[in-house]
Symmetry: C2
Subunit: 674 residues, 2 copies
């Protein structure tokens, strides 16, 4: 894998040419980063990165993350040049509809792209999650002489990623976790969109990362391939610290008039400047035409195939000696649940019904987790410093800790610290890496902090489970800063996210079962702080539809058909049942529909929906949150809370804001009177 | 303001007793931080803090922020003891409904509380905003010999604030801005909710803050009042750097069995431990009973009145010499717009109609800002590194810069760097301080990053204006990571926030006028990247109602009454007008209602609402975002986007996803057919 000096400049210029030409053709995009990082890319991708273009999903490949995702042409050029299934026709279609070369890199769209990046700071955070997953899997599955999990995670990042707060959360954790196989290369070009960063970004970044316990290799000439190569080699020797390589570069390198300027960042160079750049680089080829020598120098297919073949041999030996471990590792990396999962879910549901406990749904969640963590070793839990409140830990998930030399202790519950956004994007990285199903807890209100990472999980279709407890004014005295009002509704708006707000132990088991069983969707479980009564009826079949008839009028002794339907979720379902009883005394027959998940219910058949919500019956919804959301179900009335809460005990607040069976019953009567 | 050693221990123990007793009485709350920081509070509040309990709104008071807001009993105790209007009866009502002592400190609820804290990391960020406001106002208004603006901003913060990513964004900016009058005291107790922080928080915090350009005073004994006093005195001498004082403390100090443990953090000590603590502290007084000596030692009323009287004298001299400046400073601090504002708004609207430009609404916003920044010197703009995209800068708002010695250059547009959350919470701090109306820009999608700070502005009822551009798939090639889909709807769910999505230059002027004119409400302006046609009709009176009849069937040549109503916002209003025309050709009469602000429209009278949306006419809504929101208006159909976008040119995407006049017209016809 050695290259002559001439090769490296040819290789780097091939990237520069593709980047400037594709951006020009689209008349949209960011040439600056790919042109500036081209030499760094040569060093990493041709001398260090372990990958096989023929199998982008090889489980022991190095992971590469372009955290500065706007520089997408860099990774597209690299994937094309090294031999991935990304032909030149796709590069010509840069940023066009249904191409494999969208504006920002998207996992599952382009072979070789490991994560969707663009929202700054999240890529490096995903990389921390990937490196964590690698370290934990290696510890769990490797055996002496059998290093079947042994790869690095590399991330490129720019000034923007370093300014974002999430980089602080993620990199502090990477240091605490001693992720020595995480190597980040900082494109230190001193330019962001608004210009030379000096007036607003004076961080001494090496010092900052030393403060996090990182190994920092400073002052590397990012245009000297040998220097970058040497820095990466040195970084790979780290045994107990992640490494930051600070590579000084010129944005838009190669462009005579745009290099080193903010204009190079996010605009096409323009025809004339491209001509000048071609001249300056000595690049005589037409757009989207590369010399064979460039392809030859970049081609990673042979070395990649050899690397994977060597691993296959090693894995075969491992499989011979440890057949069960090998099968388990393969299962985990496929993201398949154990065959016994369905039975475990049924058992957990039966147990919930047998015990019929009145507990908070956060406690119900812990009870469900007790069952599931015991049989799913891939469950990797955690909390953003609220373990005892979120109840995310179980007897089979001891706290994850690392020895002085960086060896993990086998724990499976992560103390993320007070870092909600970091936790969420690290979980995305863990899920992207594979081998684990990450879940993590915080208060529902602080889903605001992590919201964009939740969105990214949904966009990427990854199974990440958010445990959001203290889900309403029902948390009581902590007051309006901590009381969710709009959050349940706001989360339901995120496309591709399943939101559950279970009402009792059985619904909570079902929510967990559904969240675990859905490999291509993140889920959020909204759970109460306060106790909720057990609801006698629901089974997995019904709950898993998202909404179901919980109680007909007959169940409160009325022989007539329902005149109205009450829809309720979570802590308000018990209220709905009380109102149903009160109304029954007055001869008013209502049906109570429990709606643990609107997002799941919305995917049911029209027939099922009409069965649960008969078109002609008036509907009244009740939820301790904003009302706007519920009108989509054609409600005649919604009891909710369209203002902030107050600091007081929960029972006082429920009364204060009208969440009483009396008020609900009165509202139903009013609706029926027309 | 000197105290004997005995005094300081009495003073600190008064805080400890109040904190433990109030938390015990509520059986809810956090005794650990108040007890641990009591000695620090003695040093700051009795020896340095410039304040007058009789006038909590004195404009030149020092600002104090309890960033670790869960320690609310600390500030309640301090306010009570120093003589604010917070009687013991309120402390007895800690965390009870409608008391002045809610679970977390809330501005405008408790006299002397400067900002609402609790969501960690935001308090210190508010403090950065306050210190920035002070520095800018001092530069603008002080004259030689007349230092009428001259106060410090102090913040207490804990491990949690330092783990949060936003602390990185805010503190990096404080360093870049050389905010020497910002003094933060870090309660370094090594404990967070999950326990001893060492496994998940290994930051070398002094080194980290040095990397930001801060002055760090390390290893201060937080229980040695003289040492803390000396550190604060030293910090006050800083001329060009903010200061972090790292005070080593014991959480729950004084409690024999809980001190130094996580249990001290967020639980009442319990009757027995309180008894032991009383013994250990030598505190013999009943709960909520304090010795007169404690009150005497703490009383700040005389010194406070004297301090303000001295300032009043100085201000009178200033007023004599600079009457206009004095009047302007007073106006600015009252948050009143100039008397001429209404006329300027009318002029801007007339100009919009006269020019009738087809521009992107982000450009329309810049045009409006050109007019408003010229006449409102309190407008303090900025962007999170997207100035040229958000178009938040104007010819009268040069970039804010600071000299080597920390002197600002008089600029009024802030390059916040890539720090959306930090920007939003800094703007909250600026608004809380007074003297400025802050506004700042980023892409709408990244409102996710700043969402909780937007919520906090709404909860605090502060005038902060968010300029969110690139508001839909209409941004085109940047693709789904950057394309808002759910954000408009999700922002509308935040109680107390006004959301505007204007359709043309006139609506954009109106949106700015309303946002500026509403002193007790934050606003978000959602603006297009792409050009939007000028709509001939709307005036300020109509637009300011949030929704209005833009075009009746008569305006497209039909004599009959409308058979249906199309509701549209922003970039889809033009589409609605086209559909109206197409339908008119087929003899179908529809009314087009432009809905620049649903939040404002929802506050109109029932009569007005029925006038705009006649109850019997079917309604069809169109917006390039999720559909769920629009059902609240009883729509028969909604054209929207309930999935993520794609990377492609905007016009391609609008067609791909059905945002065409043809599709809208077809939908209307379908609805009318029933």
């Amino acid at each position: 894998m050695s290259s002559t000096p001439q090769d490296t400049s040819l290789m780097a210029n091939a990237i520069r040419a593709l980047a400037m030409d594709a951006v020009q053709q689209a008349n949209s995009g960011h040439p600056g980063a790919p042109m500036g990082m081209a030499d760094i890319a040569v060093a990493l991708w041709s001398r260090h990165l372990k990958h096989n273009p023929a199998d982008p999903l090889w489980i022991d490949r190095d992971r590469f993350v372009l955290s500065n995702g706007h520089g997408s042409m860099l990774i597209y050029a690299l994937l094309h040049l090294t031999g991935y299934e990304l032909p030149m026709s796709e590069l010509r279609q840069f940023r066009q509809l249904h191409s494999k070369t969208p504006g920002h890199p998207e996992v599952d769209v382009t072979p070789g792209v490991e994560t969707t990046t663009g929202p700054l700071g999240q890529g490096i955070t995903n990389a921390v999650g990937m490196a964590l997953a690698e370290k934990l899997l290696a510890h769990e599955f490797n055996r002496p002489g059998h290093e079947v999990v042994d790869h690095h995670t590399y991330a490129f990042l720019g000034d923007g990623c370093l300014m974002e707060g999430i980089s602080h959360e993620a990199c502090a954790l990477a240091g605490a976790w001693k992720l020595n196989k995480l190597i980040a290369i900082y494109d230190d070009n001193g330019i962001s969109i608004d210009g030379q960063v000096a007036p607003w970004f004076i961080d001494d970044t090496p010092r900052r990362f030393q403060a996090y316990g990182w190994n920092v290799i400073d002052k590397v000439d990012g245009h000297d391939v040998a220097a970058v190569d040497a820095a990466i080699a040195k970084a790979r020797q780290s045994t107990d610290k992640p490494t930051l390589i600070v590579a000084k570069t010129t944005i838009g390198k190669g462009s005579p008039n745009r290099a080193g300027t903010a204009k190079a960042h996010g605009e096409a160079l323009g025809g004339e400047e491209i001509r000048l750049t071609r001249d300056a680089l000595g690049w005589s080829h037409e757009p989207f035409v590369l010399p064979e020598a460039a392809y030859a120098a970049w081609d990673a297919r042979v070395t990649g195939e050899a690397a994977q073949a060597a691993w296959n041999t090693r894995f075969a030996a491992y499989k011979t000696e440890f057949p069960e471990l090998a099968a388990e590792l393969a299962r985990r990396m496929r993201g398949e649940l154990p065959a016994s999962f369905a039975q475990h879910a049924v058992d957990a549901m039966i147990a919930a019904h047998e015990k019929a406990e009145t507990v908070a749904s956060r406690k119900a969640s812990q009870i469900a987790l007790e069952a599931f963590t015991r049989v799913l070793p891939e469950l990797l839990g955690g909390s953003a410093d609220l373990t005892g409140s979120n109840l995310t830990n179980t007897s089979s998930t001891p706290a994850l800790r690392f020895d002085k030399d960086g060896t993990p202790n086998g724990g499976r519950h992560i103390n993320y610290g007070v870092r909600e956004f970091g936790m969420a994007a690290i979980m995305n990285g863990v899920a992207l890496h594979g081998g684990f199903i990450p879940y993590g807890g915080t208060f529902l209100t602080f889903s605001d902090y992590s919201r964009n990472a939740i969105r990214m999980a949904a966009l990427m279709k990854r199974r990440v489970i958010h445990v959001f407890t203290h889900d309403s004014i029902g948390l009581g005295e902590d007051g309006p800063t901590h009381q969710s009002v709009e959050h349940a509704a706001a989360l339901r708006l995120i496309p591709g996210l399943d939101v559950w707000r279970p009402a009792d132990t059985a619904e909570t088991v079902a929510a967990w079962t559904m969240a675990l069983g859905n490999a291509s969707r993140p889920s959020a479980l909204l759970l109460s702080r306060q106790n909720l009564p057990y609801l006698p009826k629901a089974g997995l079949d019904e709950i898993s539809k998202g909404a179901y008839v919980l109680a007909e009028p007959s169940e409160v002794g009325l022989k007539k058909k329902a005149q109205a339907v009450i829809l309720a979720t979570g802590s308000e379902v018990g209220l709905a049942l009380h109102a149903q009883q009160q109304l029954a005394v007055q001869g008013i027959a209502v049906r109570v529909v429990s709606v643990p998940s609107t997002t799941v219910f919305d995917r049911q058949s029209v027939a099922y929906k009409s069965q649960v919500l008969p078109p002609k019956l008036p509907r009244i919804a009740v939820e301790a949150g904003v009302t706007d959301f519920w009108w989509k179900y054609g409600c005649a009335a919604v009891i909710g809370l369209d203002r902030y809460g107050e600091s007081a005990p929960a029972n006082v607040l429920f009364k204060e804001f009208g969440f009483t069976a009396e008020n609900l019953a009165a509202t139903v009567r009013k609706v029926l009177r027309g």
